[in-house]
């Protein structure tokens, strides 16, 4: 009877992947602190890779054993349900792959503190210094990414968001070449990221004021009972949305994306474009579905407009880009728009939801993999001053490096959603879910959803133009004089590209296993 302090129940087995990643990150910090400089690298790289792979193995173990939690864990802080596990798996694979890219030499500055162009910089470069802090930073970011979509209340989500973002802010500024750009990207990302998390937090505060709790289930329950017209609620929902939409780069919050993607070291761009996006979409789903599910009649039209705008803006602006990374950034914006279509397709009837959730999960996987592959190729095309990112330098690359260009072209075709690539089935699954969800909910909504799909289709057609433009440049244009060299890829990079290609081709031909997996994950739906 006496109030005693109870031991909190922590489901360690379920949380093992998360804990492993964070633990490894902390060990990495300790290594930085205590190990001599010449040993750090040989510690950090295996540590990072093994922890990520280990975490992935732990996820697999959970999936195989099939004892997926049916309720929140860690005292309601996290929800490790089917979709979360799937997203974890995807993030872990993608980040492990990105670590292989990061491990490739030449991407990161020898000493971030040295002023670009100074003798300092030269000296540290000569001395062969390197920032092995990168690895623990990546691990922290990945930990944040795991936490973000699995959060079951707004506080955990905020913490996850920050744990994910803060290391990335730093990582963005560590490019070896074009350091001014890198630092600028870092600062912009940091300021805007902080700015948007303030919005997120204020929105959380408003919802807390409305519902008296920050747990998603609690908020949704309050929605079921309380007034849906409360300004606190609507303000809270919208500001929360700002924070999340910023992370996935939806219009009109997309402005940071091209700048940051262009300035950041390419392996980090790859990590952001794949892992961060996956995590953010997962979080977005959880907030809008688990937390604000009962408010859907309000946010649905708004999100409709955002989705349409995002697809069009991303596709249209990408057309006139001249930098390959910047172009891929806009492409990523357009794809965020497609994912929003999927988010809109989630609807409160079980079977339909499984279909749309499955589609989103599938899309996240195939898009993430192709993205990492594409950026991996980008790292290999180099000039005297580092990567040759300007598109004009890519002219005639098909002659110089037919296989590499062919692979890149294939990734581009996957982005464009041409059949027999994985991207096609991703797009197909999303659109099917969208149209299907509309049908179940009645005709008016069906028309709106079909309309959104048509917008998406038009955006795809526009988007195809700039993907195709790169192919034209690579294959149909005459090579430029003294064109870029193709770096001899390290084993890691080769593995990354090969894996991405394998998945993109394999899923493009036989999507069924992955679809089944996504379906299994989606069937458990989000736990509340």
């Amino acid at each position: 009877m006496n109030p005693t302090i109870e031991m909190p129940t922590i489901e360690y087995a379920t949380l093992a992947p998360l804990l492993l990643v964070f633990g490894a990150a902390i060990i990495g910090v300790l290594v930085e602190a205590f190990a001599p400089r010449y040993l750090r690298r040989s510690f950090q790289v295996p540590l990072t890779l093994l922890s990520l792979i280990g975490a992935f193995a732990l996820v697999i173990v959970q999936v195989v054993r099939g004892d997926v939690e049916t309720g929140p864990v860690a005292m309601g802080a996290l929800a490790v349900d089917g979709p979360a596990l799937f997203i974890w798996g995807v993030i872990l694979v993608l980040s492990a792959v990105c670590v292989l890219l990061i491990n490739d030499e030449g991407h990161f500055v020898a000493s971030a503190a040295s002023v670009p162009g100074s003798s300092d910089e030269e000296a540290s470069e000569k001395a062969g210094h390197e920032h092995t802090e990168i690895y623990p930073l990546v691990l922290f970011a990945v930990g944040g990414m795991l936490m973000f979509p699995a959060a079951n209340d707004l506080l955990t989500m905020f913490v996850g968001l920050e744990v994910m973002s803060l290391p990335l802010y730093l990582l963005c500024g560590l490019a070896r070449r074009r350091r001014l750009l890198s630092q600028e990207a870092s600062m912009k990302y940091f300021l805007l990221g902080a700015f948007s998390s303030a919005f997120f937090l204020y929105g959380a505060a408003m919802l807390y004021g409305y519902a008296g709790t920050v747990s998603f289930a609690g908020i949704n329950q309050a929605l079921a009972q309380g007034s849906l017209l409360d300004p606190l609620l609507l303000l809270g929902a919208s500001l929360l949305g700002v924070g999340l939409l910023f992370k996935i780069g939806a219009a009109p919050f997309q402005a940071w994306k091209p700048d940051v993607y262009q300035g950041a070291p390419t392996p980090i761009t790859a990590l952001m474009a794949s892992g961060t996006l996956v995590a953010a979409v997962g979080a977005l789903l959880r907030v809008f579905w688990v937390g604000l599910g009962n408010l859907d009649w309000d946010w649905r039209p708004v999100l409709w407009v955002v989705a349409a705008l995002t697809m069009i803006v991303g596709a249209v602006i990408a057309i006139t880009q001249t930098d390959i990374k910047r172009m891929l950034a806009y492409s990523s914006i357009a794809h965020a728009g497609f994912l929003l279509v999927g988010v809109l397709a989630t609807y409160d009837t079980g079977a339909g939801n499984v279909v749309s959730l499955q589609a989103i999960l599938f899309y996240l996987l195939v898009y993430g993999v192709a993205t990492v592959g594409a950026f991996a190729v980008v790292t290999l095309v180099r000039d005297a001053g580092g990567e040759a990112n300007h598109l004009s330098r890519w002219a005639g690359l098909g002659k110089r490096a037919p296989i590499l260009s062919g692979v890149f072209a294939f990734f581009l075709l996957a982005f464009a959603g041409i059949p027999l690539t994985s991207g096609f089935f991703g797009k197909y699954a999303l659109f099917t879910a969208a149209i299907g969800s509309g049908r179940e909910a009645g005709d008016a909504l069906g028309a709106w959803m079909t309309g959104l799909v048509v917008v998406g289709v038009i955006a795809s057609a526009i988007a195809a133009f700039f993907y195709v433009r790169v192919i034209v440049l690579m294959f149909f244009s005459e090579p430029v004089a003294d064109g870029p060299t193709i770096a001899v890829p390290s084993t890691g990079t080769v593995a990354v590209i090969a894996l991405s290609l394998l998945v993109t081709v394999g899923v493009g031909l036989f999507p069924e296993p992955v679809l089944q997996l996504a379906n299994t994950a989606a069937s458990s739906l989000f736990v509340r």
């Binding site: 600062m187 505060a205 004021g209």
Partner: protein, 98 residues
């Protein structure tokens, strides 16, 4: 009373947001963001009081920790860029565009 606190919180948030928009110095901009976070804290604490549970207050502590971490990261970035450019103006960092 809660309304007044909330209005204050809203005002602080707005001041912070406007500050981000109109100030050029990166440090000041960053401080404005901190102000916004603190506005959130105020709102949390106010609501905690109103709702009658502790969640809000706990969150405020968390936010403080996060803000502190943010300061570490942010200052590092700003200092680096200042060393490079000899300027802390956010408008000077304008190479990445279009």
């Amino acid at each position: 009373m809660t309304t007044q606190y909330l209005i204050l919180s809203g005002l602080l948030f707005a001041i912070g947001a406007v500050g981000v928009l109109i100030r050029r110095n990166a440090i000041v901009v960053f401080m404005c963001v901190e102000l916004m976070l603190n506005a959130c804290n105020l709102a949390f604490v106010t609501f905690a009081r109103q709702v009658g549970n502790l969640e809000g207050q706990i969150i405020a502590f968390f936010v403080m920790v996060v803000a502190a971490a943010e300061v570490v990261v942010g200052l590092a970035i700003i200092v680096t860029i200042f060393r490079t450019r000899r300027s802390a103006s956010v408008d000077d960092a304008n190479l990445l565009k279009y």
